[in-house]
Symmetry: C3
Subunit: 491 residues, 3 copies
Amino acid sequence: MPDNMSRPLIRVRGEGGASRHLEASVAEHGSPVIGILGTGDFSRSLARRLSASGYQVVVGSRTPKRSASLFPDEAEVTSQMEAANQADLLFIAVFPEHYSTLMELKPALAGKTLVDVSNGLRISHDGPSNAEQLADFFPESSVVKGFNTISAWTLQMGPRDGSRQVLLCSDNSKAKSSVMQLCRRMGFIPVDMGRLSSSLEIENIPLYLFPSWRIPILCTLLLFIFFYVYNFTRDVLQPYITAGKNTFYKMPIEIVNVTLPSVALVMLALVYLPGLFAAFQQLWWGTKYNRFPNWLDGWLSRRKQFGLCSFLCAALHVIYSLCLPLRKSARYKLLNAAFKQVKDGVQDAWIEEDVWRMELYLSVGIMALGLLSLLAVTSLPSVANTVNWREFSFIQSTIGYCALSMATLHTVLYGWNRAFDPAQYRFNLPPTFLLVLIVPLMVLLGRLALVLPCVALRLRKIRRGWEKSRHIRFTLPDEDCRNGLEDVSNV
Amino acid sequence: MPDNMSRPLIRVRGEGGASRHLEASVAEHGSPVIGILGTGDFSRSLARRLSASGYQVVVGSRTPKRSASLFPDEAEVTSQMEAANQADLLFIAVFPEHYSTLMELKPALAGKTLVDVSNGLRISHDGPSNAEQLADFFPESSVVKGFNTISAWTLQMGPRDGSRQVLLCSDNSKAKSSVMQLCRRMGFIPVDMGRLSSSLEIENIPLYLFPSWRIPILCTLLLFIFFYVYNFTRDVLQPYITAGKNTFYKMPIEIVNVTLPSVALVMLALVYLPGLFAAFQQLWWGTKYNRFPNWLDGWLSRRKQFGLCSFLCAALHVIYSLCLPLRKSARYKLLNAAFKQVKDGVQDAWIEEDVWRMELYLSVGIMALGLLSLLAVTSLPSVANTVNWREFSFIQSTIGYCALSMATLHTVLYGWNRAFDPAQYRFNLPPTFLLVLIVPLMVLLGRLALVLPCVALRLRKIRRGWEKSRHIRFTLPDEDCRNGLEDVSNV
Amino acid sequence: MPDNMSRPLIRVRGEGGASRHLEASVAEHGSPVIGILGTGDFSRSLARRLSASGYQVVVGSRTPKRSASLFPDEAEVTSQMEAANQADLLFIAVFPEHYSTLMELKPALAGKTLVDVSNGLRISHDGPSNAEQLADFFPESSVVKGFNTISAWTLQMGPRDGSRQVLLCSDNSKAKSSVMQLCRRMGFIPVDMGRLSSSLEIENIPLYLFPSWRIPILCTLLLFIFFYVYNFTRDVLQPYITAGKNTFYKMPIEIVNVTLPSVALVMLALVYLPGLFAAFQQLWWGTKYNRFPNWLDGWLSRRKQFGLCSFLCAALHVIYSLCLPLRKSARYKLLNAAFKQVKDGVQDAWIEEDVWRMELYLSVGIMALGLLSLLAVTSLPSVANTVNWREFSFIQSTIGYCALSMATLHTVLYGWNRAFDPAQYRFNLPPTFLLVLIVPLMVLLGRLALVLPCVALRLRKIRRGWEKSRHIRFTLPDEDCRNGLEDVSNV
């Protein structure tokens, strides 16, 4: 083995797909040697990527002869001890539960940089993290956590596809710097996440399943169930119980199509409600330097998700509505109406008011949809990246309130004068659109209140740093240098 | 104060949420100290981000005791003078109008790097910029402009969300390099914008409100108004004036739905018109080395925006069209037609020509929409980034002209033989589709002319660098090494 | 010329747009000098970008006096020899066929770094590449391949728009490092592609025209043609031949609208079929360490394209379906039905079963579309970048199979009991939906088989590295450290 160690190995493809070792000097003598312990999928992709980026790769395996065929020809596959000896920077790509089996390498790894690429099995908020355990096992080595957020797939395809950010942390800033440089040379973008205590959080990242979507989706579902049951009771159950009319065929489409826009409008109003809460709280406190309660903070940071849920419901409502005339039931009803009109000898069925109501509420609805689509497109990350803060604020705030107003008007026009028709209060339940309008109208009124000159002026002062308790403060140069456009609760 | 300066401070959370200062040695001795002057939102987010990236942060405040509670525990909050003394690189996060209050720090800041993060209050094209004013105040410091395009929000969330580019400029390249390195370590991508004279432009960037969209949106609006008035006159006013027929109910939907496709088609043609102008101008000049007039340059660079406006109109036209059968007016008309058919005893109302016209123009319209959707999707920044120049050119040029041809054909099929029907010339106004077809047909004919072998060959020669005035030039190796695919006016 | 060489030149704008050379000392003495040989579009954009990034640029031209006016004022335009003498790093921006004309510069270029930015004229898989030819001409210089994937347009606009990745390769790692640093300073992200032998591939990249889309699009087209002819035969030809009924008007819309969903469903099933093949093959082999055959590998890596083709067909199917009631033919048929109903004296045409079938299959279809839209949105690169592997796998696998099940159910509900109606077997051809259902049902059954506990357990073991042939292996620490979520064939 010593003679092996003194000379680097490269492997060449033999005949018939087999490969054999050939002792030869590596062409690129100067390139640094990177070690990998472990021979799983991730190791193989990593080896390929490192080789492509001009590094010499040495893989440490328990069974080097059997593992060799799995690796690219440029990588040297050898024993774990030899890999530990050859490289100054090693990726530890073995299961965390097997870290202890690496103890025999302890002397060889002393003073070297170890990169822990492992993921946790489940989300954990109590340490120690895998990386901290590794650091405990090898106190004389410098442990850097990282690359666990990168998939073997991304490594293999190169960073052209998929995310390119590599989150790193370590207690040793020199080791961290060298891993950051390695990242950059592989085409990734390293992000310094600070000290090794951040490793628990970094290990959790790949395990999350849409954490910021949980509450918005739950909210959408609950609203959907509530409105569905409400509409079902009014539109299907009531006619069945009071008049024995069988309209259960309405369940898959018509009831859904009344429920969806209700959910969409309430969810859209919920996007703008927390911003109003925040503004009124700031006005009440007379300062912007108090922290919002946690529930409000959480709500503010999930407005995008609420908005997208609202858009999804609105888009489905459009599709459902457009499908209405395709249905057999619509066809039969139309034919029966034609039959009745002929029997009754009515030459012209035209009712001017009905025509106008429908034309107006359809056209307002389409405009609301158009504005919501603009909002949805600009919440795509790549589009959001191309607009500056002022443009983002204009779209999300100005266009957003326009969309909310349009959608509210759409609902009001749909309701027309039905709110005053006693026949609509079946089972004493008010028409759905009345319930739906409560939150949006509150939000629009609240917003109007904030636009009143006296309120608006005070709020602007507060957001530039003025405080009720110490008026003198505004004249000091301690303030923020930015012109207040980007206040988080402003959007 | 001297004893304070000699020992770094860290703060620890005390009991009950309160925090107090503790004299202690910082664990990470080696990490560089970054100063921040100012205590606004941006300062706080910056302090958090710098701490997370492994820097020691010292914040200079006029009122350090009161400000301390607003900052993360890892940051030291002290007097401005002390911050200026401790750090070699300082962020100046105070309002530009208060720069003069920092004059007392002048000796302490000499030889140090100052990062100006301020924004202007309004777009300005005359200097001096804030950064240049700062450089005037502190001639012995090196001023770097930057980070003003990054929001406090992006800083706080880390660069995983939002744009990651940090535009920097400075007259001192060493200072600039150190800020670039700092950027990278925070996970941002620094972009060198050259000397400090670029700072005015950098300060303007966050103030722009969709500058490249202004003309395309104005153009869309003007076309919309023109065609809306034209259609209103022909379809509503004329029947009302000549026959007293009240068809004002058509205003919200039907007139809009004739206007939108007109705007969409003309706007789509306007996407391809400037490319033709450019090509013909190059043919006329016999060289590609002359500059285009400014209006043509501006038009060429806004084609994407024209195209997206066209797509928006086309998409709205689709929604409006699909909503047509939902309307009460459509229902009443159908019922009345059924009544009439029964009264007249017509068993089969089928008119083969009408059926074919409608089937054809609908199917061609859907194809045009499909192609336009492909164009719209590939103009999303993240999709555009994954295609190479040849693919981009194929989509925008080949697919784009197909979409234009389809949309033109859709309009021609809609018109069918109405152009030759005198009854269509109400008030002597020709049918709308005739007006609409002028520009698209011109563009398609112009494009056909460029495809003629003799013209195409000459144009290709010109775009590879050939010039009419000096034929010899083409044989010199001074030419562009790329094969002409990416000519800007080619797309 | 020697006196020229000793002093750097800058040019200033003279009166009337003319420009003249002025001997002056450059303000930024310390900035490195970058040379560019060639004066094409790319050279000019490069010169502008390099100047903006703080470099001194010297352009070597055969005709420096004439070329000077084409370059920004900050760049010095001089003879090729002088440029070669002044700069240590030179971009070679001349046509590859003219490389030989640079031979006279050989002594001046010795020991310097040459960046080859050329593209090939056509895709080539046999060397030597342009960069290798350049390296042959100048064996004493270090050749770096790169920047050919960046368009002059991107260079000119700065890397804010378009892709920012610059693929580089070279046999000299020091030269490569200096070019990488230059890239970063210009705001690009360099990606190290290894040794100069990769240059052929890098030169091919800008020439590819959607290579990964070829097979999926071909597949879509073939399926479309097959189903179109099949439906045409059954729905148009058979009635015409057997009953003389002219229904050719169905060709542009109705036949297309039966064909599109067929293609969409089969394509969607083809997205999930290769994953099943892979899983069954792994179960059969008893290991995941065997390579899949090439056709399966290719299929697995093109699933996204298959899925997007399927989505496009599904979306077009929706538009076509929604257009159905707009058609004159639908109107005439409805009027005739009303006439008939009146003549027959049928007061109520309602058929409960038909109504339910239609309501159900429409609502299931809309849900399938909603799920497919989610899949399509998450395959946008910028969205895919924001989700972690677990989330991506959840969407593509769980949501994907839900969409497939929904779409299959949609088709089954459309078919209803027609499969058992002999009248549907025109020309002895079974109804289309029966053919369409074969592949999706196979995929769903295959997936169900994999969910059986005994099979699922074995597969999970295999994917964590267990092998049938050596049971002991699982206990060794040689395994992958990741928890198997990201297995490529899992999605």
